[in-house]
């Protein structure tokens, strides 16, 4: 990435759709389906490396295991929200979509807020350090 490129300010389209679904007749789980915009998916893709790690999230009663991509160290160290791992989930980075299962609605808003906060920290980090020749190619649209 050249310094000219990084000097442009990034205003991409960072959107997500969150669908909460529950049908007691089928099971007792609350499903949170997340789909993210392509711009955001690209940033996530560029922030990760092609290796997987396990992570777990609180579903309200217990912890559920899942897999995420490992994140470039300089990016990951700047993210401090407890739920930062969710956004680097393999399925979300690969497909732009992810289903999370919860046992309590009390975990849904924190998950959404965690994603929101992590995206903010992620973009802030990329903007802040992209003047150094880092390996995240930040997609720029204005």
């Amino acid at each position: 990435m050249t310094s000219d490129q990084v000097s442009e300010k990034a205003i991409g389209s960072y959107k997500a759709k969150f669908k909460t679904k529950f049908d007691k007749r089928k099971n007792d789980n609350i499903l949170l389906s997340i789909s993210i915009s392509e711009d955001l998916r690209k940033v996530l893709k560029e922030s990760t490396i092609d290796e997987l790690a396990n992570f777990s999230y609180n579903d309200g009663d217990s912890y559920r295991n899942s897999q995420r991509y490992k994140v470039k160290r300089w990016v990951y160290s700047a993210l401090y929200d407890d739920r930062r791992d969710i956004i680097f989930s393999k399925k979300l980075v690969d497909d732009g979509e992810l289903d999370l299962t919860f046992n309590s609605v009390s975990m849904i808003d924190p998950a959404i807020n965690g994603i929101k906060e992590t995206v903010r920290q992620l973009i802030q980090t990329v903007l802040k350090y992209s003047s150094i020749d880092m390996t995240v190619n930040f997609n720029v649209e204005k």
Binding site: A16, T20, F22, R25, D28, V105, I112, L127
Partner: protein
């Protein structure tokens, strides 16, 4: 509705000339004579507001647990027979409902937790359903009932803190105490006839049926812009502020040289002098 439990509390002013009901302490009611499954207890939050003059008596009447619509209607009929003295008295001759009185409803579904399973969006739907049914009904004083719906003891719930308090429209603490979700907003304000009394409870029951249905099967979609232009501007400001804070003026960067001398012996070279800059 299957496997549900419903209980109601009717707060009112009793005409002490017509009825004498012995009351227990708050949360420790005594069975009502002639209506054994119901209990009567004292509630300090009630005031007669001069209803029935010096014969007015504040009372909270607690129903038994109903498990079906038939049982609900049957017990309300017994309530009517008891307090109307078998159709001798109209409602407003024996019971009155002023603005200190509420009619709370407790509701639970077997093996189901409202606290754990139901999102906020469901509760405003129930409120709207109740309002629509009430205002479309022929109940006299329906506007008074609606205006009293969000009174101070039953504040309309807010998405950001809707599980934190007892004295609000839906009380989740009650469910945690094993007494079902408490819907505190229904009230019988200015209901004066038995006909309207029954019409009111029909609406409440229908609202519970609606809650039963939508609480156990729902879908909600939210589109969220995770970062908008304003967020970007804030980020830029933060970065700029941090850069300003970390900026070290050139003068401060100039370091003062210091020297020290070390005497070392290396191989056979004695007294070799090395100058070190630290």
């Amino acid at each position: 509705m299957n496997e549900v439990k419903i209980g109601i509390e009717i707060e009112c002013v009793l005409n002490g000339i017509i009825h004498h009901i012995e009351q227990g302490d708050y949360h420790d009611g005594l069975p009502v004579d002639g209506l054994e499954r119901w209990k009567a207890e004292h509630d300090g939050s009630l005031s007669t507001k001069n209803d029935f003059g010096r014969w007015g008596e504040c009372i909270e009447i607690i129903s038994p647990i109903f498990q079906s619509k038939e049982e609900f209607q049957e017990e309300l009929k017994k309530f009517y027979e008891k307090f109307s003295k078998n159709n001798q008295f109209e409602l407003n001759e024996v019971l009155r409902f002023n603005n200190t009185c509420g009619s709370h409803v407790h509701f639970s579904i077997k093996d189901f937790s409202f606290d754990k399973k139901v999102i906020f969006a469901i509760y405003p739907k129930v409120r709207r359903y109740f309002k629509k049914k009430l205002l479309n009904s022929n109940i006299k004083g329906k506007y008074s009932i609606w205006s009293h719906y969000g009174r101070s003891y039953a504040k309309i719930i807010d998405e950001n803190n809707f599980k934190e308090q007892r004295h609000q429209e839906f009380n989740f603490e009650s469910e945690k105490d094993g007494r079902g979700l408490e819907w505190r907003s229904p009230n019988l304000l200015k209901i004066r006839t038995w006909k309207d009394f029954f019409a009111f409870w029909d609406i409440v029951y229908e609202s519970l049926e609606y809650l039963y249905e939508i609480a156990q099967n729902y879908e909600e979609t939210k589109d969220i812009e995770l970062l908008n232009k304003e967020d970007f501007e804030n980020i830029e400001r933060e970065i700029h502020a941090q850069n300003e804070e970390n900026f070290i003026p050139l003068k401060a960067k100039k370091r003062k040289k210091s020297y020290s001398k070390l005497n070392v012996k290396l191989n056979n070279l004695e007294g070799e002098e090395i100058e070190c800059v630290i």
